[in-house]
């Protein structure tokens, strides 16, 4: 059973184990956002995983040096009249060396968490809150691919 993990902890774990995929100058990341979703009108006020993903992209722009990343995908949601329960950013990172690459990954991870946090704050929900029994917040996770 998958549990979303706040990505700073995730990256810390990856770094500690020295996963070879990160020991390189370039690589691809998937930044996944998960929220409760719901009816666009009936459930209005819930957080949107897609809105959170877009917020995170803007934070990535601000946090990463120009030329160090390229967004290769931004997607989410399943219908125009539903609050998106999922969001996804795919991006390619390029760094001069492995240490610099890890710095970029950490920055992306931080931006993802802050994008989710901004969306949660805008809608006034916090970790542990439930909506109709489901987790009310947007959560993010970062994975290499």
């Amino acid at each position: 059973m998958k549990r979303l993990i706040y990505s700073l902890a995730f990256v810390a774990a990856i770094t500690a184990t020295g996963t070879p995929a990160f020991a390189q100058q370039s690589g691809n990341l998937r930044v996944e956002f998960q929220g409760p979703g719901g009816h666009s009108s009936g459930a209005y006020g819930r957080v949107s995983a897609l809105h959170a993903a877009a917020r995170a992209v803007i934070l990535i722009q601000k946090a990463l040096p120009a030329g160090s990343y390229q967004i290769t995908n931004l997607t989410g949601g399943n219908s125009v009249n539903s609050i998106a329960s999922d969001g996804l950013i795919e991006l390619k990172l390029t760094a001069a060396n492995a240490a610099a690459y890890q710095t970029l990954v950490a920055a992306v991870t931080k931006a993802a968490a802050e994008g989710a946090a901004a969306e949660n704050a805008f809608r006034g929900v916090k970790a542990g809150d439930l909506t109709s029994g489901a987790p009310a917040t947007v959560r993010s996770v970062v994975r290499p691919f």
């Binding site: 059973m1 998958k2 549990r3 979303l4 998960q34 409760p36 979703g37 719901g38 009816h39 666009s40 009108s41 009936g42 459930a43 209005y44 949107s48 897609l50 809105h51 959170a52 993903a53 877009a54 917020r55 992209v57 803007i58 722009q61 120009a66 030329g67 390229q70 967004i71 290769t72 995908n73 931004l74 997607t75 989410g76 949601g77 399943n78 219908s79 125009v80 009249n81 539903s82 609050i83 998106a84 329960s85 999922d86 950013i89 390619k92 969306e119 805008f122 439930l130 109709s132 029994g133 489901a134 987790p135």
Partner: protein
């Protein structure tokens, strides 16, 4: 109308139908039919699989002759002037309970169409979003069962990992095993379900709105079986295109509604409408939907340029911070929005530049002015996103080296605010409830809905809504975790009694004693445009 309601509700033919539906065998048949139909994925504008199964059952199982099936597998309704909506066929599924009216010597018609009453519920469901994305060897929804003691699933992966699910045989029939027995337990509410070993039954469409639509066809078959004879024809339809980008396609076909003109020709001459999505509302939210494409410039000289996903992200991020009129001003009409969906074209092989990205945004309000206000707030943000991205690279808007915008799709749900509720659908809807003890007074709510009813209401056709569903509990509508728990079958039967009574009040009815309850409305339906034929 009071006398009509009393006579119809107590007519021996009607009571025989209700008694027949009140048996354990009938309750089980309804439940099984629902499970078998809800299992069939039916995204908006891709309802063809579910419509095909409904069409098959109409003739092979529900007692209708092919001539009583009013919709075709290819999406055509003979007599409609709007068989293509947004460039696509419309997969409605309708049967007729034929009335006596057309046999009258003095029968009136509109360009060959005799009057009819429409009873409908939609057959499209938000999830999954695309039939083409389903695995080739796994084309049906999985119906998962979860004890109440466990928390509601937090992710699609958690849902998929639930080991207990319902089974179906090769013909699509429910397998009546232990899991089926567990899922079939009936409860009054969530508290009783939790205490009594109930389960959350996860499947898209449980709440919105296959139980009600499935029971509409149960009612149709029962009317046929019990020889219920209206005066005007009654059409009972499963309608397409209520969700997502469906744009109310099913209703637009039935009512000849042309979005560009904003008018409905009512080509089938429907005189009254009853929706089955619940609500009992008389005012209808308007909505605007936009699909905008952000197109990247062609890469030049190996240098970097504006990015389509980042332009779209800039637009979404701006929209995400919008506060609606009802959030800004106390007492302002309720207004909502969301960017419901976004996607990007993949970069070409070997490249990393995304050619284009598209977003879909939904805006709604109970009133026109705040709807226009939210549109005027959000619509400029599409270009603002593109401009922000262009500015990062010093590119001019509208030039060949910058991000450009293209409107891909525009959706409109026509709003309707009732000046008066003095119409036959509302009267019949209320009086049937009073007659059967569900209501105590003829009062309509002041709330608004966004339903299939928007189209007939905007076209001038009286409309009212009920539900034929009975759930003990449920949540997660439009989300991956949509679930429900079975409610009392007797509630379904009571609701069938009310819907049948209301429809027959309006259509007119040949009672068992040989008398005729005359139709409550004249034979020519309203329209806002003439049919061109």
């Amino acid at each position: 109308m009071v006398a009509a309601a009393e006579k119809i509700a107590n007519d021996p033919q009607v009571l025989a139908l209700i008694k027949d539906q009140s048996t354990d065998a009938a309750a089980k048949a309804r439940w099984n039919q629902f499970l078998e139909l809800v299992r069939i994925p039916s995204p908006s504008r891709q309802e063809n699989l579910k419509a095909a199964e409904i069409h098959r059952r109409m003739v092979e199982e529900w007692g209708f002759s092919p001539s009583e099936v009013m919709t075709r597998a290819d999406g055509i309704i003979a007599g409609s002037d709007t068989n293509i909506v947004d460039g696509l066929p419309v997969y409605n599924a309708c049967v007729v309970i034929t009335g006596s009216y057309s046999g009258r010597a003095d029968a009136q018609h509109y360009k060959g169409q005799f009057p009819k009453v429409l009873v409908e519920g939609h057959i499209d469901v938000v999830n999954p979003e695309d039939l083409n994305q389903l695995p080739a060897n796994d084309k049906f929804n999985h119906i998962k069962l979860q004890p109440y003691a466990q928390p509601v699933v937090a992710t699609p992966e958690e849902l998929a990992a639930i080991p207990t699910e319902l089974s179906f045989d090769a013909r699509g029939r429910i397998v009546e095993n232990d899991q089926y027995a567990t899922a079939s337990k009936v409860f009054a509410n969530a508290k009783e379900a939790e205490a009594g070993g109930g389960v959350r039954i996860y499947v898209p469409g449980y709440g919105d709105m296959m139980p009600s639509t499935s029971n509409a066809f149960v009612l149709a078959a029962a009317m046929k079986k019990h020889h219920i004879k209206p005066v005007y024809d009654i059409w009972i339809c499963g309608t397409a295109g209520e969700e997502g980008k469906g744009n109310l396609a099913g209703m637009k076909q039935l009512y000849g509604f042309e979005q560009k003109l904003g008018t409905g020709s009512n080509p089938l001459n429907i005189v009254a409408n009853f929706g089955l999505e619940g609500g009992g509302v008389v005012n209808f939210l308007g909505s605007y939907r936009f699909e905008m494409k952000f197109k990247a410039p062609l890469p030049r000289g190996g240098g970097r340029g504006p990015s389509a996903p980042e332009a779209m992200a800039a637009a979404i991020a701006k929209i995400a911070d919008v506060k609606t009129p009802s959030e800004l001003r106390e007492g302002a009409p309720r207004t909502t929005y969301t960017v419901g969906r976004a996607s990007c074209e993949p970069p070409p092989a070997g490249g990393t530049v995304v050619p284009s990205c598209s977003l879909e945004v939904d805006m709604r309000s109970t009133r026109k002015d705040p709807l226009e206000e939210i549109r005027q707030t959000i619509e400029p943000m599409f270009q603002a996103g593109a401009s922000a991205e262009n500015a990062r690279y010093g590119r001019k808007d509208g030039g060949p080296e910058g991000i450009t915008l293209e409107l891909m799709w525009y959706g409109l749900r026509p709003a309707f605010v009732a000046d008066s509720v003095d119409n036959v659908a509302v009267h019949a809807g209320l009086q049937s409830g009073i007659q059967l003890g569900v209501l105590t007074s003829p009062i309509v709510g002041t709330g608004s809905g966004s339903l299939n009813d928007n189209v007939p209401a905007n076209t001038g056709i009286p409309t009212y809504q009920f539900t034929l569903a009975s759930s003990a509990a449920g949540a997660g509508g439009h989300a991956f975790w949509e679930w429900g728990t079975r409610g009392a079958p007797a509630t379904e039967v009571a609701r069938m009694h009310r819907v049948l009574t209301a429809a027959l009040i309006v259509s007119g009815f040949h009672a068992a004693d040989g008398t005729v309850v005359q139709p409550a409305i004249g034979p020519i339906g309203k329209r806002t445009r003439e049919v061109a034929r």
